[in-house]
């Protein structure tokens, strides 16, 4: 790539079920202003804005960039709107980074969000479309069979999902932005929570959240002069594959494996297990942690669950996963991918607060979407690549 790019500012809203204290522009501005303040910049320092969110049916708006243009300080500027299903928070940041890497802009603001309380995500997902069969089960109904298949293939202990949920819910207690704060959560409480989509229990599932996440990206010369430590973008990657066909393995998707391989190759990572310090990945249902560990090469096939059981993925483990509490603790769908990137970037900046991993130098941000078919990833480093 022509230009180096770094994250120089990160901002997030408090995630909650219903942010009725703010309008949609109010929500986005809360995140965007925090990112600008983090970078000690103002709106006029920004050359272009890239926004992303999941389906517009979730808020009942078409072309939301029209309405949000001046709220995001984008009047007279380029404003691009990305939508790649659940991976959108990640791919939006990738597109924003490409504007800097291509040498087109010096500083780009990227914002993603979901304000699920404006509409009803379940309604948004269960429309009866022409020519197609409606998925009337929500996302959990789609993913439960994949989890069941993983359990069958890997022979993982049945409580792997419970352990992941327990870890992420405890991590969330250290993250003031996290939606779910469950100080009294126990193994038993998760085990005994009701079965939503067998084998996925209620407390092994993500919440529906309102929230926004923002990042300011800058070219090398500006990143070097920024007040706080930048997170250098070592590499980004995206891959997509079709929803359904016989050759496809939806449990360990080829698109996910190729995106990870491409990411490591671009960043010069030879052994991700040795060279990556922590991972923030998109786990809306707890069993996806071991699944993605295998897809991204942190464990051999069928062995991802061992990383949960032996404590490797714990906050004080050898390679922590979802230090922020992850999607299990906050899920503003369209922003969830960017929240992963923001956490990964903050880890290498040393700005992750109470959930900081000591000495994190290389962190991976991961997002996926659709029927486990859209993948967006980025690697952030504390050192200039």
């Amino acid at each position: 790539m022509a230009e180096r790019c770094a994250v120089i500012g990160v901002g997030q809203t408090k995630y909650d079920a219903k942010r009725i204290d703010v309008s949609m522009p109010g929500l986005l501005r809360e995140a965007a202003l925090r990112a600008l303040e983090d970078a000690e910049l103002t709106w006029s320092d920004i050359d272009a804005v890239v926004i992303g969110k999941a389906p517009d049916t979730f808020e009942g708006m078409m072309y939301p960039e029209n309405y949000l243009a001046d709220g995001l300080g984008a009047t007279g500027k380029p404003l691009l709107r990305v939508h790649t299903a659940g991976s959108v928070g990640g791919s939006t940041a990738n597109v924003a980074a490409s504007l800097v890497q291509a040498g087109i802009h010096d500083r780009v603001l990227t914002v993603s969000w979901e304000k699920q309380s404006e509409s009803n995500a379940m309604w948004g997902l269960t429309l009866s479309p022409p020519f197609s069969v409606a998925v009337v089960a929500g996302a959990g109904g789609f993913f439960a069979p994949l989890v069941r298949t993983y359990m069958h293939r890997s022979k993982a202990p049945e409580d792997t999902g419970i352990l992941v949920a327990l870890k992420d819910r405890r991590n969330a207690l250290k993250n003031p932005y996290a939606h779910l704060q469950m100080p009294d959560v126990t193994y038993e409480a998760i085990r005994d929570s009701f079965m939503l989509w067998d084998p996925i229990r209620y407390l092994e599932s993500c919440p529906s959240s309102d929230g926004a996440c923002a990042m300011v990206l800058a070219k090398e010369a500006l990143a070097e002069r920024t007040p706080r430590k930048p997170a250098w973008v070592m590499a980004t990657s995206m891959r997509s594959e079709p929803v359904q066909f016989a050759k496809r393995d939806a449990v360990n998707p080829m698109a996910g494996r190729l995106a990870a391989k491409d990411l490591y190759s671009k960043a010069g990572i030879k052994d991700p297990r040795k060279e990556i310090d922590c991972i923030e990945c998109y786990v809306p249902f707890s069993w996806f942690e071991p699944m993605w560990m295998e897809t991204m090469g942190f464990a051999d096939e069928g062995e991802g669950w061992k990383l949960t059981h032996d404590g490797t993925t714990a906050l004080d483990g050898a390679r922590p996963v979802n230090m922020s509490g992850g999607v299990l603790s906050s899920n503003p769908i369209g922003a969830s991918g960017m929240c992963r990137y923001a956490e990964a970037a903050n880890q290498v900046r040393g700005e992750a607060g109470e959930h900081q991993v000591d000495g994190a130098k290389v962190a991976l941000g991961h997002a996926y979407g659709g029927g486990s078919q859209y993948f967006a990833m980025a690697l952030f480093g504390s050192a200039k690549p």
């Binding site: 708006m61 072309y63 949000l68 009047t75 007279g76 299903a85 087109i104």
Partner: protein
């Protein structure tokens, strides 16, 4: 910036389609790929534009992956905007040096839904959308403001429509085509004053696909690559009460940033869903009153929401490729009263 050329383009032609979006798109994408001279798996990036609202389901664009070929997995992205913005994202991707070719596509099918109601969803969701103003009415307010300011007249609008309808007769993709005198058009009834039917977009269903390739590879692939010499997009504020509706400052800014005025333009293809907007765009984009605008017939001859902007760019590129001009401006616009705009400056080899 790396030189990037449009090497192939294809579009469907129908007013109202029985086929699904995937079925409409598949042959169009296949045609663009075949004409590019590249095999599908040689094209390194794929980017599309569409709107979930037209299909009436979330993640509607996901199905399109089946139509364009996505196995083995592809490097792919999507904008919930007109395909012209997907072209922009693809052009940026090539500029990063990561890829040297891209397939861009867009599709829209407005016939199954109530497009007036759907398009009201792009306004302020708290204060304006609940009133359900349709785009014809908002554009009529803009046309009225322009007439009152002396910027356009109803006769000039009818002249634009007469040219578009006549041009539609030579365009196999046009759905509205007619030889009509200006006076005859002016005698027709209003739809929403001061707009008559022919002043409003000729809504149609369809899909569009394009292949772009960088540098010498483009020269190897086609006789006369059409180079993207400049591309830029900008947005104006949303509140109609804030904007001077007789001006489109973001369109003027894109034309300037894209370097439109650096040399003579032989013609322009612009996205003007309403006739008065072509007159406004001529002024904002620096096109003279005698400049050749929309030889394709534009949106008054065929307006496929989500792909019409990419269509204008493709139409302009194919006209240059055919030797009917060397340098052209192509424009895409979306949003109420053309709030958001994109300009591409194209040059033949």
């Amino acid at each position: 910036m790396r030189d990037v050329a449009i090497v192939s383009f294809a579009q469907s032609n129908a007013e109202s389609e029985i086929r699904s979006e995937v079925e409409i798109l598949q042959p169009v994408a296949a045609e663009a790929v075949a004409k590019s001279g590249l095999a599908r798996n040689e094209i390194e990036f794929t980017c599309s534009g569409s709107s979930d609202w037209l299909q009436g389901q979330p993640f509607a664009f996901v199905m399109a992956l089946d139509a364009v070929g996505s196995w083995p997995p592809i490097v792919e992205s999507h904008v919930e905007q007109d395909g012209a913005w997907a072209l922009y994202e693809a052009w940026v991707k090539i500029q990063t040096g990561e890829v040297e070719s891209a397939l861009i596509y867009a599709f829209g099918k407005t016939s199954p839904g109530d497009i007036a109601q759907v398009q009201a969803l792009q306004l302020d969701p708290y204060c304006v959308t609940p009133l359900w103003p349709d785009l014809d009415s908002l554009s009529a307010i803009q046309a009225r403001a322009c007439i009152d300011a002396g910027v356009v007249s109803e006769r000039q609008m009818a002249e634009v429509a007469a040219r578009a309808l006549a041009a539609g007769r030579d365009n196999p993709h046009a759905v509205r085509k007619e030889a009509a005198a200006v006076d005859a058009l002016l005698a027709r009834p209003y739809r929403v004053t001061p707009l008559r039917d022919h002043d409003c977009p000729a809504n149609s269903d369809g899909a569009t696909a394009m292949v772009i390739v960088a540098g010498d590879r483009a020269r190897q692939l086609c006789e006369r690559p059409v180079w993207i010499r400049g591309i830029d997009h900008r947005i104006d504020p949303p509140a109609l009460g804030v904007r001077d509706l007789t001006r489109i400052p973001s369109a003027a800014l894109c034309a300037e940033k894209a370097g439109a005025s650096r040399d003579k333009l032989d013609f322009a293809e612009v996205t003007a869903p309403y006739s008065h907007q072509e007159i406004l765009l001529r002024r904002e984009l620096g096109l003279g009153s005698d400049a050749l605008v929309n030889p394709s017939g534009g949106s008054l001859a065929a307006h496929t929401l989500m792909s019409c902007g990419l269509n204008r760019i493709g139409d302009a590129a194919m006209r240059i490729a055919a030797g009917k001009g060397d340098r052209a401006l192509a424009h895409a616009g979306q949003g109420p009263c053309l709030q958001q705009n994109l300009v591409v400056v194209l040059e033949g080899e």
